[in-house]
């Protein structure tokens, strides 16, 4: 990636189906986005494309272009003009800066959405951390430690990483049961694995992956390793649950797939009265190839 490089421009013909799906996905049913009469009352010629939808398409443009070795760490958008559903838009961007920083290149991009007349209806920017792949250098794996003080500090092990509040409704539980194929619809008591739907990291509300840029080896795989819960009482519809997340353990061991880095986070789930309802432990594992050092 070099300064001046263009991201492949992406033409999109926005359909009503796109904005309706978006309304459902984000639970935003402002009629302006799908109701022609409501749009007309506001003096517009038709339903207006949601701004955050355009931001989401821009984010996808950036991450598809940047590939697996990059992490998107910043995205900003300014919505300058409304776009009407049915419009032909072009999503694009340009690299404006590349700065080496530790084990990564920090890449700045300018982003935009252009309508059929060439007006930029959205302007924005993004920052990426791009890991550099380099030739292997001989090293004794036994002498390599992934869990450095720097990594532990970046994960703020033992400190609160964030707190998020999630109300639980019967509709939430039924949507979950329908997804699982559990016929027990309408029950107020949440299914036992429902704690997994209240995890800020799974929900991407708590971002922790950028801290992994501190690990200077090629990542070869990973996923959830384990999930555990202990309930003081079941979760129920009507609960408004505040989840307090902290990283409680980081450790490594050698496995079939290479050096495995485990990160364990603990969630405390409190109800509206502040009483503890459940504690969970969520274990995630990543595999690294110690023969492929980057940066």
């Amino acid at each position: 990636m070099r300064v001046g490089e263009s991201l492949p421009p992406q033409p999109v013909q926005v359909t009503l189906a796109d904005v309706v799906r978006w309304s459902g996905a984000v639970d935003d049913y402002t009629p302006l986005h799908f109701d022609a009469a409501a749009a007309k009352e506001r003096g517009l010629d038709g339903p207006v494309v949601n701004g955050p939808w355009k931001a989401a398409v821009l984010a996808r443009l950036v991450t598809d272009w940047a590939g697996e070795s990059a992490t998107l760490t910043r995205l900003s958008c300014r919505y300058r003009h409304p776009d009407l559903v049915g419009a032909g838009l072009t999503f694009g961007g340009t690299v404006t800066a590349v700065t080496p920083a530790g084990g990564v290149d920090e890449v700045e991009c300018e982003l935009w959405v252009e309508d059929g007349e060439g007006n930029r209806t959205v302007t924005g920017g993004a920052t990426l951390h791009v890991r550099r792949a380099q030739a292997a250098e001989p090293a004794d794996p036994a002498e390599i430690t992934l869990v450095t003080e720097e990594l532990t500090a970046a994960l703020r092990v033992g400190e609160e990483a964030g707190r998020f509040t999630y109300p639980i409704t019967v509709a939430d539980l039924d949507r979950y049961r329908e997804a699982v194929g559990d016929p027990a619809l309408g029950h107020e008591v949440a299914p036992p694995a429902y704690f997994g739907a209240l995890d800020p990291v799974e929900r991407r509300e708590l971002q922790i992956d950028p801290t992994l840029d501190l690990v200077p080896y090629a990542r070869t795989g990973g996923g959830n390793a384990f999930n555990e819960v202990e309930y003081e009482r079941p979760l129920r519809a009507g609960d408004v649950i505040t989840v307090v997340t902290s990283y409680t353990d980081v450790y490594e061991r050698d496995g079939r797939a290479g050096r495995l880095l485990f990160r364990v986070r603990t969630n405390h789930l409190y109800d509206a009265q502040g009483a503890l309802v459940a504690r969970t432990r969520m274990g995630h594992v990543l595999a690294f190839d110690l023969g492929r050092r980057i940066a």
Binding site: V180, A184, A193, G196, A197, F226, V229, Y231
Partner: protein, 145 residues
């Protein structure tokens, strides 16, 4: 169905639950659990990560095992503890068989309780998920005031 604590014996097997997850089910689960990791719906991404295709969410397999338990114990018992370890990935359109057995009966804070061992098995009869659960019979004791 409500099973009675007195009728539960160590060694009892839970009636097996067979799931054949579909890609639609993975997308529905992603929406219901707000888990939009691409590995579960983006085929090209999954292939670039070295898989044959999209993979089933670990927490969806946990939910299947949860369903196995709640279907067995009924609404008059509740799950106090539940732990799941993911051993292998599972692909959609393949049967995933959920098994369970009773390994202990004991008291949990004065209430009758049962410990279960749970697991999912793929068509090659490999264990892909291992779990344990503690089920308490009777109403939960209210916390707080």
């Amino acid at each position: 169905m409500n099973i009675r604590y007195a009728d539960v014996a160590v060694g009892d097997r839970l009636p097996a639950l067979v799931k054949v997850p579909t890609t639609e089910q993975l997308v529905r689960y992603a929406g219901a659990a707000h888990d939009f990791a691409r590995i579960h719906y983006d085929h090209a991404h999954a292939v670039s990560r070295g898989f044959d295709g999209v993979i089933v969410h670990g927490l969806l397999k946990a939910a299947f095992l949860g369903q196995l338990v709640t279907t067995w114990c009924g609404p008059d018992a509740w799950v106090r503890r539940f732990g799941v370890q993911y051993r292998r990935v599972d692909l959609p359109a393949q049967p995933l068989i959920c098994h369970g057995k009773v390994v202990a009966k004991h008291e949990e804070k004065g209430q009758p309780a049962v410990d279960l061992e749970l697991w999912t098995e793929n068509p090659q009869q490999q264990v892909t998920t291992k779990a344990t659960a503690t089920v308490v019979f009777g109403a939960p004791q209210e916390v707080g005031e």
